[in-house]
Symmetry: C2
Subunit: 389 residues, 2 copies
């Protein structure tokens, strides 16, 4: 592409045909991308397991879908999703290491595939790199991205690398596949459904709070997980083991791919969302898409001991993080009341968490919380909002 | 997602459950995206013509590939590509209007599908929006993006909108489909092949030069095409009609989808690339991928009258733009010498430009230019380079 201020575009550029310097090796963009991505995934694995006939290095990747997605019954549909992380908006050196940024950028998109009940297959990675990021930092970013790709069996099939004036921006597109017509959507909830969540919520937000508090107290950046947990423990008076789940959930979240597949395979799940934007916000999306009112019960919400301990040390009501924190990457959904117990048993049989937390009923679309004291509170339809904050 | 500095993440955040303000309408992110994307493409068209079973508004889009891509014979492969445009790196208000940014961001990805011989199908749009871009500017960006989508039959099936601290970043992923095994790759050139290009090159770079010169002379920003062409004409002494192709190519490039399909259908094209990074750079990619030396002949390179006129007025050798400009979005490739003339005739029969510009032969991979005076010049393997500029 043409760049502003480069030779081709600048005004008053002298006419010349620049000969290739002999004997010098120009580590250009393609060489660097190759350096970051080569030997990460074999072409053989990409082709055999994920159907990648043409991978990184041509104008576009070419994929045989029929050769991909073990375990998904025909006929399939292709799933497509993109998620973007922007430096200073979603992360900064005090909260995430470069490896974590790469890991989480892919994890966020994989979570969208999980929330449809699908199997993730391929990723395309757009990275806009500011001058502060040299090759070593980029290698670390790709280290984390490929660690996530390996964990979820995702073939990194292409991408685009550009420069950025100041902030790192990472946009990851993920493909997946799902049995046609069985996608788990937001809009399928019915009156009488039980509302469930497949994991504890609020940990990522508490982890972010703890990492920002470290920074505010003059703490360092680029801290390893262990170092960060020790510093948080020291500052909060907690044992380091209590900090670990919070930092881990914030930096290296685990998309619920197996939970999503189990929900689809069981056939009783009626609506589904991931909790990327917070429990309240995602419940609102199901309520609005399905035209129902959802009631969540405070006493039923799963409470992490680590979250409770850290919240107590920080003097904060953990409920704030549980409802509005986001980036938990577990799943919220609904199931017919009569199928709820069997679904819970199916989850527990696989060692997966599953919590029934409320009900759906006819009414003006919205979400209410039934408090411990029996009072009802309308929950705001907020989570993150990039424009009205 | 969690945002740094928002309620959920900020240190010392008071505990509260915020009730939804009654009677107030919060134009939140989803409402805005809906506003920008609603009524642009009907769900019916997306489903019937492009197989979109689940479109914008759920965790991921779900697509039936079998229902998409009229005119592509079975068995198909899925094509995937992403391109990114960054404000101040690829555009600024003096060079592109918001509509143009949206149009070109999609066009760049569509061009990658064209360069594989495929048919573009779906787009996912990641936009990171700085504070300076209000809803009206975003609407204009989407106006341009959907204008491009309409021209190339692309279903906009999803996206992600985030905030950005300072620069607009647009990353567009495009899917396409192609007959399996018939993808037109960079690596298929053979010794003796003729090298062709499917359009004039250098116009976009000249257009950028003219727009930057206007800015340097104190010209305005956000100029319409007509106003920009008139201002360029005034400054350069050319008729406005000579400026139009340059500005048009820079702001609203036309990906060569039909040319790519024609090349695939004819079956004689052996290697192919789009000219997004400049003729020299793209020829180098074919040379390296195919392990051959390419020679381009200066006398055979297509020369646009508009380019020649503007270059003369600017005192610049147009060859610089033709070789290193980029963003021309025509195609460069190779064909067996004995099939070259028939291919040219097939292009001309459809009213499409086609120029034979050189040859491929055995030798150290690289690209040479045979000058008018019979001398040979090694062409630098440069175009844009985001790191070593």
């Amino acid at each position: 592409m043409l760049l502003l201020g480069t030779a081709a575009g600048a005004a008053a550029q002298p006419a010349r045909i620049e000969p290739k310097p002999k004997g010098t090796f120009v580590l250009d963009e393609f060489a660097r991308i190759h350096h970051w991505t080569a030997a990460r995934q074999s072409a053989d694995w990409q082709q055999r397991e994920r159907g990648v006939a043409v991978g990184i290095g041509d104008d576009a990747a070419a994929v045989d879908l029929a050769a991909a997605a073990d375990g998904v019954a025909e006929p399939k549909r292709l799933l497509l999703s993109v998620d973007t992380m922007v430096e200073t908006v979603h992360f900064k050196p005090a909260t995430m290491r470069d490896e974590d940024v790469g890991f989480k950028a892919l994890a966020a998109s994989v979570s969208d595939i999980a929330a449809m009940g699908g199997v993730p297959l391929h990723a395309l990675v757009s990275v806009s790199v500011p001058p502060a990021y040299g090759p070593e930092r980029m290698r670390r970013l790709y280290d984390g991205l490929y660690a996530c790709a390996e964990r979820y069996g995702v073939a990194v099939a292409g991408g685009d690398t550009t420069s950025s004036p100041a902030q790192l921006v990472v946009a990851v597109t993920v493909t997946g596949t799902v049995e046609a017509g069985r996608e788990l959507r937001r809009s399928g909830a019915k009156p009488g459904d039980a509302v469930f969540v497949t994991g504890a919520v609020g940990l990522s937000a508490a982890g972010l709070h703890a990492l920002l508090a470290l920074e505010a107290a003059g703490g360092g950046t680029d801290m390893t997980e262990d170092d960060a947990c020790e510093a948080i423990a020291k500052a909060s008076g907690l044992p380091p083991g209590k900090a670990k789940p919070l930092v881990r959930e914030h930096r290296r979240p685990a998309p619920s791919v197996r939970a999503g597949r189990l929900l689809l395979e069981r056939g009783t799940c009626r609506s589904l969302n991931d909790v990327s934007d917070g429990l309240a916000s995602e419940a609102w999306e199901i309520a609005e898409a399905s035209g129902l009112k959802l009631t969540l019960e405070e006493r039923l919400l799963p409470r992490s001991g680590s979250l409770a301990a850290y919240a107590a040390s920080a003097g904060i009501d953990p409920l704030e993080w549980m409802l509005y924190g986001g980036e938990d990457y577990c799943l919220i959904g609904t199931v017919a009341a009569e199928d709820a117990e069997a679904l819970r048993e199916a989850f527990h049989a696989e060692g997966l968490p599953f919590f029934l937390i409320g009900t759906a009923e006819e009414g003006t679309p919205g979400v209410e919380l039934l408090r411990h004291d029996g009072k009802r509170a309308a929950l705001a339809k907020r989570g993150y909002n990039h424009f009205d904050k």
